[in-house]
Symmetry: C2
Subunit: 231 residues, 2 copies
Amino acid sequence: MLHRHNWQSVQEEVLRRINAREWKPGDQIANEADLAAELGCARTTVNRALREIAKTGLLDRRRKAGTRVAAQPIAKATFDISILRQEVERRGETYKHHLIKREVAVPPRTISSEMGLTARERLLRVRALHMANETPYALEDRWIHLDVVPDAKRQSFQEISANEWLLRQVPYTHGDIRFFAQNAGESDAELLNCPVGAALFALDRLTWNKAEAVTKVRVLFSPGYQMHAPL
Amino acid sequence: MLHRHNWQSVQEEVLRRINAREWKPGDQIANEADLAAELGCARTTVNRALREIAKTGLLDRRRKAGTRVAAQPIAKATFDISILRQEVERRGETYKHHLIKREVAVPPRTISSEMGLTARERLLRVRALHMANETPYALEDRWIHLDVVPDAKRQSFQEISANEWLLRQVPYTHGDIRFFAQNAGESDAELLNCPVGAALFALDRLTWNKAEAVTKVRVLFSPGYQMHAPL
DNA sequence: CAGTGGTCTAGACCACAGG
DNA sequence: CTGTGGTCTAGACCACTGG
């Protein structure tokens, strides 16, 4: 083994050994210094390679305990969650959106408690239908916390969708996203032009700016929608 | 601005500036050397901080062109895809699984073409029901390429599920995962103990070892299942 | 307490791509 | 051609934690 002088080739070599079962699940592998000596590079380089592998879940690293091949590999899939318009246009289709409703209202209890608000607080609700090539693509139902995003009052969300406006204009610190399946209700079915009861892919997304909830959105996708990622 | 001597605090400071719109979407920011001088640390440290931010999609970096705040932030959500047993047990529930079928058969055309096989090649098919606290959790329908995983012939998959055995024993180089929604068919409904037509969260997963397909699996989850991730 | 990973530093060279 | 990020190196100190 000679001259692994960059971290990618060190990574390749380590992955090869794991793959070939030279290092088996649960095994402790050589420490960074030894591995660096063996491969003929600096410890920093080995560190980089192993750190990146550990992030994928294939290695388990702890000070003093050393580095081990994960006994139970956990696959991590990373999905890009972009603006709906981009998603449609990247597929070479024509994007449009229609505003269905825009009102200030008191949300259901479940929403206000998720967002950490009092039960009576009024939020801006925006519903919109996103289209790809003139056919329904996704149905957006959003609640916006006006105390956090006062500018939203002055936005009609006709020219630009709430989805796009918020992502562009409003910073957030963290959030949470959930994927699930849901049967189309009557109004969903009508808007998405699909049978009542059709299985719809859905997501709920809640974003925060520090301790304050910014917006909560549910998106229902037309039947046939798939979300995919490399593994 | 003094003494940002570790990459996490450099990262915090950069994120703060983006968040506070001191650096706006599309703006080019200071180069690494200048930033290092300003913050009082080595360039390497700034590099680490910016590299990590760029991986989340919030910065766009190119040699010579410099570093810019992403004009259209793309959120990346990372999901842990673990063994079903672990998923159940982590929720504090009791896991069991039942083998429904184990046979060698010719798969449908769609499967064999996805896996890059000739239409007549025979694969091992395993269907199993995964249970949490004695109630159905997920239904697994799997095809295994026996040329790549000959050991699978000797496994009954009664003691250990195919899901777990493969992830533990069989290495793969890459794969692809898809999430979607699907209405429960009659046999799905019977096995999962849910109404026919219920919206089920589903995933298809195809894994490869270099150029050879290892296994293709479809998992249907019981109604109510959610997959979530931080953002 | 001592072994291991985590990180920082200063300096260097290189690869890429903008102008 | 030249500015920028990408990386490597040797050496150092530190933080954590297992034994």
